[in-house]
Symmetry: C2
Subunit: 202 residues, 2 copies
Amino acid sequence: MLDGVARWEPGARERLQAAALELFATRGYEQTTAAEIAQAVGLTERTFYRHFADKREVLFLGQQQFDEGFRAGIDGAPADAAPLAAVVAALRSAGAFFPDERRGHSRARQTVIDANPSLQEREQHKLAGLATTLGAALRARGVGEPAATLAARTGVMVFVIAFAQWIREEEQRSLTTIAEDVLRELGALVEGVGLTSSGPRG
Amino acid sequence: MLDGVARWEPGARERLQAAALELFATRGYEQTTAAEIAQAVGLTERTFYRHFADKREVLFLGQQQFDEGFRAGIDGAPADAAPLAAVVAALRSAGAFFPDERRGHSRARQTVIDANPSLQEREQHKLAGLATTLGAALRARGVGEPAATLAARTGVMVFVIAFAQWIREEEQRSLTTIAEDVLRELGALVEGVGLTSSGPRG
């Protein structure tokens, strides 16, 4: 059935996504209905619901691929890589999912999310899911606790901060470059408070 | 009006909270209504809604005091304290809001939240709000970006990991002690990947 739908309506999902983002941005998320999104691209509400559980999920499609982008980096890191080094590999791997040409789309999506508390909650939940995925990938490599959870959450934190910078209008650097700069900043912060064995004790 | 309510129904809010937690745990969060919570302590549904916007908010009362507990630590840190040192002060300050006798209540609340995706989303949102508060407090001290956001989010991350450990059945350490141990672990992780100026470059 879904195969049939895909044959008859090529790119329906992507067209619905683009129309939704446009309508959310111009009319407001709460004020836009699934029927209006479908209508904007000449499809029916029923077709909309074949592709998305509800209008919110239009903004959160592809969580699995998103998680997999990070996870592939961890799984591909050398077996003897330190936990946070594996996370750095995850950030580099995920960066490939956010090429510069996607910056505009990502910025528009984030603007809609930032304007709606319920969407912010959903986004936080998605990021918590990513941290869970990364923590599991690290534990699968033999990393213990709390190191696995801590390294996983550090990776998500660095991603979130780098992503917010990446979608700024004036920003030119790639997401991966920004993430590496944020990680270095974290290193400086941790060093500043004497938490490493080589630094002074706080 | 609210003063009057408080006089006639001493401790109504706390009784409703305790009853709600009990019902959420035994019957399930979705299956429990505001009217049932009120009834369990001999109050009316109307009284319930004088205290809480909805049943979800029973679990999220006191966000402002929660945030203030952290913020007081940052505001009280020496003017020349490094950003993450101010965050350590915030964690110590917040620890006072979670004395050991609250461990059982916190554990019961978390069990309810962990079982309900919508509550998890709300909890993530609350923690994101805390990160915003801490970031603002650091910027008010003259900390720049991305250091302020990074230090604030690091503080929240450490709190979340320490809190999850604190409510484990077998755990005996205080929340503050656990948080300090998690911070040391973070120092070791960061050192391991050579992100500090004194460590090897990754």
